[in-house]
Amino acid sequence: MDAQLVAMQLLSGVSLGAVLIMTALGFTIIFGMLRVVNFAHGALFMIGAYAGLFIAERTGSFWWALLLAPIGVGVLGLVIERLLIRPLYGRSPDDPILLTFGLGYVLVEGVRMLFGSDGVPFSTPPALVGVVNLGIGFFPLYRLFVIGVVVFILVLLWLALEKTKFGLVVRAGARDPQIMQVLGVDIRRLWLIIFGIGIGLTALGGLLAAPMRSVSPEMGTIVLAEAFVVTVVGGMGSLIGAVAAGLLVGIVVSMTSLFAPEMATIAMFALMALVLLIRPQGLFGRAGQGA
C-alpha cells in the first residue's frame, strides 16, 4: 500500500464528500430553518436529474440545464410549500414527515408514468470529459468540476446568510420565528422562499450527480438515507455541520472501499451509529438541542 494510492483515495473521498454535501444541502437548509424533515428529498433530487435531462435534450446544452433545472424544480418547491406543507405548520412535527413521504411516493410514480421505469443514460458534458493529471495520479475532470460547483455554492450561501440583511432575517427567523413575527417580518413568506431555495439546491444536487450515477426513478432512494446520515452526523441542520459531516462520511466510505469494498455503504451507516453512541446531538450540534 503506497502513499500515492492512499492520497488518491483520499481525494476521491473528498470528491464523494462534495457530492454528499450537495445531496444533503437542500435537505439540511429546509431542516435547519423550518424544522421540516423532507422525506420527498430523494424524489425531488431525482426530479432534478430528470428536469436536467429534459432541458439538456431540448436545448442541447448542459449549461442551460444546470441553470434552468434548479429554478424550475425550485418553483415546484414553492408550490409544494404553499399547498401541502403550509397547512401543517403548528401541527405535530410528524405530520410534514408523513406528508412528504406520501409526496415522494406520488412523485416517483409520476416520473415512472412520464419517462418510464427504466434508467436513462446521462452523458457527461463534452467540455468536462477526460482526466486531469494532479501529480499524484489522474482524476476525472467532471469530479473536480463538481467539487468546484459545491465550493462556489457554499461560498454563495455563506455570503448570503452572513453578509446580507436577508441572511440576518433568515438566521433570526430560524432561531425564534415568534419574535420575528412580532417584529413585523412575514415569516410565512420567508419560509416559502427558503423552501423553494432548498428544493432548488436539491434539484441541482440531482443534476450534478446524474453523470456519475444512472438516472432512474429510484435514484433518489439511497439519497434520502445519505442525507439523513450527513444531517445526523453533522447535527442540528447547520451548514458547517453538513459540510464537515459530508467530507467525513465521504472519506470514511472511500477509505473503506480501499480495504473492504463490500463494506463501503455499510461503513457510512455504521459511522452514524457510532456518532449516535458517542455524541447523539451530532458533531456540531449542542447538547439539549435536537428536540
Binding site: 414527515i97 411516493y105 438515507a225 455499510i266 451507516f269 455504521a270 449516535l276
Partner: protein
C-alpha cells in the same frame, strides 16, 4: 381527552374494547370468505399484524419510526434460515424470529431513543438501511439480491393430525392462530399500567417525566415489544410466501406500514387492520386498471394526512364519540 380506544380508564365501559379479541377473531375468521380473493385475506392478516405491532410504537407511544422493515425482514429471514438451513420445525422457527427481532429492536431502539423529536424518524430509517445493506452483502446467508429461497413448509403435523400447508385455507387459519395470540398479547399490554404509561408519554412527555415515569426505559420497552410483534408478522410472511425478497428489509416496507397504520387510525386497536385492509384493497382495485396505482394510493395518503389524520377507524370512533 383523546377518543382513542384502549386506555385503561374506559376499558370496562366500552363493549368494543372489552370484547376486542373475540371480535377480532370473528372478523378475521370471516375475512377469506368476504374478500374477493383468499390471497388478499392472508396479506391483510400479515400486514395487519405488522401494523398492529407498529401501532404500539407509533400510535400509542407517539414515536414515528421509519425502520420497522428491519424487524419485519429479520423475522422473515430468521424463519427462512432456521427452517431451510437448520431444519427447525415450522412452529419453532417463528419463536426464534421473534427473539431475533426483539434483540435487533433493543439495539436500534437503544440508539434511536438517544435522539429526540423529529430526528427519530431519520435515525430509525438510516439504521434500518444499515440492516438492509448487511442483508445485501451477507448473500451466503440471505441470498443477497435474489432473496432467500428453499424453505417451503408443505405439511404440518399437529398432534398427529397431518394436513397440507399448501392449501390456502389451512394456511390462512394456521397464520390466524399466531396472529390472534399476538393480538391478545398486544391487548394485554394496552390494558396494563404500562399501556397507560406509554399513552401518557405520547400525550405529554414532560408531564409523564414529572410524574416519575422513566421515559427512556418505557420508550425502549415499547420499541422492543413493537419489534417482537413486527418480527412475528415477518415470520408469518416468510411461512406464507416461502421466499424472502431482499426488499422486505428496504425502507419502502417501513413506509408501507406507516401508511397502513395512519390510513386505518394510529392509536386505535382495530385501526391497523382497517388500514391494511383499505391499503391492500386500494392496491387491488387500482392495479386492475393502471400499473401506476402507487400514484393514487400516495395521493389518497396525502389527503388523509392533511384532512383525516386520525384515519378511517379513528375518525369513525371520534364521530361516534361526538367529538
Amino acid at each position: 381527552m383523546s377518543a382513542r380506544a384502549g386506555s385503561i380508564i374506559d376499558k370496562s365501559k366500552d363493549f368494543a374494547t372489552a370484547w376486542r379479541i373475540p371480535l377480532s377473531l370473528v372478523a378475521l375468521c370471516a375475512l377469506p370468505w368476504v374478500l374477493p380473493t383468499q390471497a388478499l385475506a392472508v396479506n391483510v392478516l400479515i400486514y395487519g399484524l405488522f401494523a398492529v405491532g407498529y401501532n404500539l410504537l407509533f400510535g400509542y407511544t407517539g414515536l414515528l419510526s421509519f425502520g420497522h422493515a428491519a424487524f419485519f425482514g429479520v423475522g422473515a429471514y430468521v424463519t427462512g434460515i432456521a427452517i431451510g438451513r437448520f431444519g427447525v420445525p415450522w412452529f419453532a422457527a417463528p419463536a426464534l424470529a421473534v427473539i431475533a427481532a426483539g434483540l435487533l429492536a433493543a439495539v436500534i431502539g437503544g440508539l434511536s431513543i438517544r435522539t429526540r423529536g423529529i430526528y427519530f424518524a431519520m435515525v430509525t430509517l438510516a439504521l434500518a438501511q444499515l440492516v438492509y445493506y448487511v442483508g445485501l452483502q451477507a448473500s451466503s446467508w440471505t441470498g443477497g439480491e435474489n432473496g432467500l429461497r428453499g424453505f417451503t413448509v408443505s405439511t404440518i403435523n399437529f398432534f398427529g393430525f397431518r394436513f397440507s400447508f399448501l392449501d390456502p385455507v389451512n394456511k390462512y387459519y394456521v397464520i390466524l392462530a399466531f396472529a390472534i395470540a399476538a393480538l391478545w398479547f398486544v391487548s394485554r399490554i394496552l390494558n396494563s399500567y404500562f399501556g397507560a404509561a406509554i399513552e401518557a408519554i405520547r400525550e405529554n412527555e414532560a408531564r409523564a417525566r414529572a410524574c416519575g415515569y422513566d421515559v427512556e426505559r418505557t420508550k425502549l420497552l415499547s420499541f422492543i415489544l413493537s419489534g417482537l410483534v413486527t418480527g412475528l408478522a415477518g415470520a408469518l410472511s416468510a411461512l406464507h410466501l416461502t421466499i424472502v425478497p431482499l426488499d422486505t428489509l428496504h425502507y419502502q416496507t417501513s413506509g408501507l406500514v406507516v401508511m397502513m397504520t395512519l390510513l386505518g387510525g394510529a392509536g386505535s386497536f382495530f385501526g391497523p387492520f382497517v388500514g391494511a385492509l383499505a391499503f391492500l384493497l386500494m392496491e387491488d382495485v387500482f392495479s386492475q386498471w393502471t400499473s401506476h396505482w402507487q400514484l393514487f394510493v400516495g395521493a389518497i395518503f396525502i389527503l388523509f394526512v392533511i384532512f383525516l389524520p386520525k384515519g378511517i377507524w379513528g375518525t369513525a370512533l371520534a364521530i361516534r364519540g361526538g367529538k
